[in-house]
């Protein structure tokens, strides 16, 4: 029975790909792509999109890590719960609104977009850093302290490595959402692949829509996959043994 289901699954997959291929051809996407001018525009928008993503996620990661680390330090531990809750509330504001509000205060263009995306991406990283470090078994820290490891060493050699898996999951979530949300930055004048998508929708030009939607999807999938690799690279072998 299981074997049968898997066969059906594989079959469906192939069918979907074929149908998609045909459908895409019929929408005129291939024609669009064969036009060098259009191609250039798409590539430019892609780089723009990538730029927005990379800058905002970098800042967000640094900020998120810092927040997560700070709130696991002895002194600030009691504020952790409250702080996380407040930041969490911030996440309930729809991404669109965050971008739009940034526009209201910072005008249009790249800067408000990057600003908004950075803020939006901080939470997953911060929350997971906090959770990851908190989950490090207390006896490890106790052992480290008792052996005479200075607090910085404990952070770098014990807490962070053991929390890395969870932190990377947070990073991955933040990154993927970031890529998707960056598409909306078109609406506040920052360009990116969202340009193609929204123009495609308003003008009912499916090929434009797909020219935007497919790269962005591919970007997200590739980023997700790269995060897998990152996880293998950064998480100590000793911790992955139980997987």
């Amino acid at each position: 029975m299981t074997g049968l289901l898997i066969k059906i699954y594989r079959f469906l997959l192939i069918v979907i790909i074929l149908v998609a291929g045909v459908a895409i051809e019929r929408t005129g996407l291939v024609e669009l792509l064969s036009d060098p001018y259009e191609r250039q525009v798409i590539v430019e928008l892609f780089w723009q999109h990538l730029y927005i993503v990379l800058v905002s996620i970098s800042i967000a990661t640094i900020a998120g890590l810092t927040v997560g680390i700070v709130f696991t330090r002895q002194r600030f531990r009691k504020y952790a719960g409250v702080c996380m809750y407040i930041v969490g509330l911030g996440q309930t504001i729809p991404s669109l609104a965050v971008l739009a509000l940034a526009m209201s205060f910072l005008g249009i263009g790249l800067k408000p977009a990057i600003f908004a995306l950075t803020i939006y991406s901080v939470l997953p990283v911060a929350r997971n850093t906090l959770a990851g470090i908190t989950a490090v078994p207390a006896e490890l820290i106790e052992a480290g302290k008792g052996m005479g490891m200075p607090p910085l060493r404990i952070l770098l050699e014990v807490e962070l490595p053991n929390a890395m898996k969870v932190i990377l999951v947070g990073f991955r979530v933040a990154l993927v959402i970031n890529i998707g949300t960056a598409a909306l930055s078109y609406l506040i004048g920052a360009g990116g692949l969202g340009d193609l998508i929204f123009t495609g929708i308003s003008l009912m030009q499916t090929e434009k829509l797909l020219a935007g939607a497919i790269p962005i999807t591919l970007l997200a999938l590739v980023a997700d996959f790269l995060c897998e690799l990152l996880s293998v690279a950064l998480v100590s072998k000793g911790l992955r043994l139980s997987d």
């Binding site: 078994p137 052992a143 480290g144 302290k145 008792g146 005479g148 490891m149 200075p150 014990v158 000793g238």
Partner: protein, 381 residues
């Protein structure tokens, strides 16, 4: 030497203050294992943690050698002391080698020296370096992990080791083995060790001295024999257990009470009737039969009476032979198991060395408790 001088530790303030330790003073001599023993909450772990400043002392002083630990940087202090905990606490993200190298790296040893030290320590703790260096803690059993924990504590060759129920998380069978290994190691290394335990058996086995704590006070501090035979008060007597006579026997060995020249020795080549006459004249109910210097069994007058042959043909063999280092407790156990009152002792070559009888054991216990019996009178059971 570690000196504890009027050490007091109070947690919390005002009405919620808890006095964990109250004016405790004693010394740990160099090269000895002192077990901090007591029920949960008695303060023994706090005592240990004050020593490496994981807790801060409220009043009093702790000196390591001549140095007051208050005057040392806590981090530096801890690097000088070895610390082994119950939960083991091996860093799962590091290999065994990296774990052990932790303190040496902090102290700035060079790579070569660290590497050699790692191999040395792994061998000392019976873990083959080739096999275990690059493994991760998750791949090791509990007993193996704790051996690494001990190795890690010894890594920088500290003079002093602090151990907090280090073998508590290991199953009883492995625990005994690792305790024995540790004692062998200590015989070679002669470290000064503070060892926290709640188990009286472990304390007796491991400790050169025992510091017994109760509700934050040091109740009795002495060698195990004295604590067992001269408990200071009811608490100590109850804590060591009503079977403390047996426990004392556990510390004593055959060589403490062996009778090296028993008088009722018969040769296996003697004739039965001659042997019978010999036993009768001397008034012995039974005789120990020895041949070519090795004991082969025993005979009673009853066995010899109706036989006309050599003693060796009718001898009843001993169920087992004791070594000089066998504990008297085990001897008592054998006596009960085999329903015998006398056993022969042999040396490494199997040659007859003497006998131990039930009377000998009784005598030895009576002598240890002689003082106590006088001071306490009949008090229990």
């Amino acid at each position: 030497m570690i000196t504890y001088d009027a050490v007091t530790k109070i947690f919390g303030t005002g009405r919620e203050a808890v006095t964990a330790l109250d004016n405790v003073s004693f010394n740990i001599p160099d090269g000895e294992i002192v077990v901090f023993l007591g029920p949960s909450g008695c303060g023994k772990t706090t005592m240990l943690r004050l020593t490496n400043r994981l807790e801060t002392i409220t009043r009093g002083n702790i000196l390591i050698g001549d140095l007051n630990i208050r005057d040392t940087d806590p981090v530096e202090l801890r690097q000088r002391l070895g610390y082994v905990i119950q939960a083991i606490g091996l860093f799962p993200n590091k290999t065994i080698a990296e774990n052990i190298a932790t303190v040496p790296k902090l102290l700035g040893w060079d790579k070569q020296r660290i590497s050699e030290r790692i191999d040395e320590l792994l061998e000392m703790t019976n873990l083959e370096p080739e096999m275990y260096r690059d493994r991760y803690p998750a791949e090791l059993s509990g007993g193996q992990q704790q051996r690494v924990g001990v190795a890690r504590g010894l890594a920088a060759d500290p003079e002093i080791l602090l151990m907090d129920e280090p073998f508590g998380a290991i199953d009883p069978i492995n625990r005994e083995q690792i305790q024995n290994e540790f004692l062998r190691l200590q015989a070679k290394l002669k470290k000064t060790i503070a060892f926290v335990s709640h188990d009286i058996h472990e304390a007796i086995k491991m400790g050169d001295r025992i510091a017994l704590f109760y509700k934050g006070r040091l109740v009795q501090y002495d060698v195990p024999e004295v604590i067992l035979t001269q408990p200071k008060n009811k608490f100590v007597a109850d804590f060591v257990g009503a079977d403390r006579a047996l426990k004392v026997l556990g510390i004593m060995q055959v060589k403490d009470t062996i009778n090296r020249k028993p008088k009722n020795i018969i040769n296996g080549s003697d004739r039965t009737q001659d042997a019978l006459k010999f036993l009768d004249e001397k008034g012995f109910r039974y005789g120990i039969v020895v041949e070519r210097g090795k004991p082969i069994g025993s005979v009673t007058q009853k066995i010899l009476k109706y036989e006309e042959c050599l003693v060796r043909d009718v001898v009843e063999p001993y169920p087992l032979l004791l070594k000089e280092r066998t504990s008297l407790r085990d001897v008592l156990s054998f006596m009960l198991m085999y329903d015998a009152v006398t056993f022969c002792v042999v040396d490494e070559n199997g040659s007859f060395a003497g006998t131990v009888s039930y009377n000998d054991i009784q005598r030895v216990v009576r002598e240890s408790y002689a003082d106590e019996a006088e001071s306490n009178g009949d008090e229990e059971t």
